[in-house]
């Protein structure tokens, strides 16, 4: 029974995405189209989402720091505006801190941070999306997605990653100053359009960071990266992220993503 279900889903998901059920070939999709679908698959699944996110920040010598948070996301339009709400559980000195992001493609994000000890709602300048997200190897842009149109994408080849068929795409920023990478290679799963692996090269052409989707599974029928790693190969530092208790389509209200709940998050939203 299990064996039967998997190939069926493989057929149904492309159908649901409006694709032809036949194997998706290199001839049918351009690099840009693949990356657009990949962006939707990675950053927009469901109308909304809630997850408990555990980040392990690991130094070259094995020293470890933990960031644990509840993340809520709501799409206002698929591929368009999104709202993020993040509530920190750990480390202790930022516990109960909340973070609100209103994300719009082609425009700087609006970000608010609430510091509970001061009862202060702080507006965060968001013009530099390359700043590290909570000290991890992920930048803000890695967490909420980079606008596909900011880069030129070229389909290089197709090859297998861990037994999965993947497109290999080369992305180059149209404005070199807009990114801290000179070039990025992505291995995009031909079935789920989830990135299985990414290699970021700095402007000198040296490999700088490597992303890997270590566990990808379906949650409520939606492909989800439940374990991922970003490794900085130049410093040896890496960040391992686990998404637990992932739930989609909870019908989160727009009001949740406002200053009222930033200051006073409802228990059901952060548990």
């Amino acid at each position: 029974m299990r064996k039967f279900v998997t190939p069926l889903t493989v057929l149904l998901v492309p159908l649901a995405l409006g694709l032809r059920p036949s194997p998706v070939g290199a001839q049918t999709l351009s690099g840009e189209e693949i990356m657009k679908r990949s962006s939707l698959a990675e950053f927009y699944p469901g109308d909304d989402m809630k997850a408990r996110v555990l980040m392990r920040l690991i130094t070259k010598d094995g020293g470890e720091r933990i960031r644990e948070m509840t993340m809520l996301r709501k799409n206002l339009q698929e591929g368009g505006d999104q709202r993020y709400f993040i509530y920190f559980h750990r480390p202790a000195d930022v516990r109960e801190m909340t973070f609100l992001i209103w994300k719009s493609p082609r425009k700087d994000d609006d970000r608010w941070l609430f510091i509970p000890a001061l009862k202060l709602v702080k507006r965060i300048a968001a013009n530099d999306k390359r700043s590290s997200f909570v000290g991890s190897d992920f930048s803000y842009e890695d967490v909420s997605g980079r606008d596909v149109e900011e880069d030129s994408h070229k389909l290089l080849r197709e090859e297998k990653v861990d037994g999965k068929d993947a497109f290999v795409i080369e992305s180059v920023p149209k404005d070199p100053a807009s990114a801290d990478f000179g070039k990025k290679l992505s291995w995009i799963d031909k079935v789920s359009f989830i990135p299985l692996k990414e290699e970021y090269y700095d402007r000198r052409g040296d490999l700088s960071r490597v992303f890997s989707a270590d566990e990808v599974k379906q949650v409520q029928g939606l492909w989800t990266i439940t374990k991922r790693t970003m490794k900085n190969v130049q410093t040896g530092h890496r960040t391992e992220v686990t998404f637990q208790e992932v739930k989609y389509n909870l019908k989160l209200s727009d009001a949740l993503f406002t200053e009222r709940y930033l200051k006073n998050p409802p228990p059901e939203a952060v548990r």
Partner: protein, 419 residues
Amino acid sequence: MRVRASIWIALGLPLVFASPPASFAIEVPIHGFLEVAGGVRLQDDPAQPEDATLGEGRVQLEVSHSWEKGPKVFLRTDFIGDAVLETTKIEVREVYIDSPPIPKVDVRIGRQILTWGTGDFLFVNDLFPKDYLSFFIGRQSQYLKVASDALKASLFVEPLSLDVVAIPFFTPDRVPTGERLSFFDGLSGRIVGKDADLTLEEPKETFGNTEVTLRLLGHFQSYEVALYGFTGFFHSPVGVKDPMKRVLFYPKLNVYGASTRGPALGGIANVEIGYYDSREDRAGRDPFVENPSIKYLVGYERQPWADFTLGVQYFLDQMLKFDRFQASLPPGAPTRDELRHLLTLRLTQFLRYQTIELSLFVFYSPSDGDSYVRPSVSYKVTDNLTAVLGANLFSGGRSTPFGQLDADDNLYLRLTYSF
């Protein structure tokens, strides 16, 4: 001997409470921190016999509980052993109850910390009490805010929200009073420390003296716009009740203001204005009571590169009825400027995956010719343990706001274990 006992308490108190994530039988988690902090004066202060400006052990405990679809209760208490003042005390920072969740309305009753406005360490329409003494000696920035015993009601009708706060018990700002830091005593025209003998007379605790303040806030796309109103008292003693007996008081005050904040020039910009209606000297003819004034604030913050933040602010305090103030001064009395200009600069750089934070905050007033520089280095040794080394450096003429603290420059170190 007494000093030694206090130091022992200051250092030992955290150990007594050192039982990380403990819980009650009813599963109420306890959080907080243990902290040891010390600070010393960087030069002799003739008005202060002691070199230490800060020496304390502090335990902060926080418990809260929310009932399903019911109210929430919250308690945050500090236990402090203070080696400088040779005291121990318990300070309830916050204790409040929140109304059960109902659409469009939130109510909070009890001791609470309140903050609004757009400034960074500068306040125009935030008339909630501040603890500048803690700020000047290197305590955590959360201690800049003093809690108010208040009732707060908030109404939410998208995209607007209205907050109304009633504070029945007057809480003044905590400012240097000579006990730990010296200050300029305008009545005697000199810097005073432990020998300070001014009497500060607070407003009577009557129903009519309840302070009321409100804010109407609107979100319009990326921009926030707010209107503010306040009726109550100045929170610093800017009135002289009896110059011979050396009694100061907190005159009546109304404030009307507005602010906006949002993206501009690749960063975040804010503008705020407040009209201070000094109700006991509207005409400006009484030299012993602060004149009415208008305060203006413009700020801008951006991230020029990853993990670096740059912030600048310009603050202008314009005394109204200045001619009458001057005319009212007794011959030979020190005068003041009509305009007080103040600039601030904030630089913050995170290093090594945000485990190291280098921070610099500078206040500089071209009109007063004084400045206040706050450098600090913070290192997160582990997720739980943070060490902060910093300084508070003042300079300027002895009668200026920051210059009066010139002999109180201090260096501090804090070790904080959070759980």
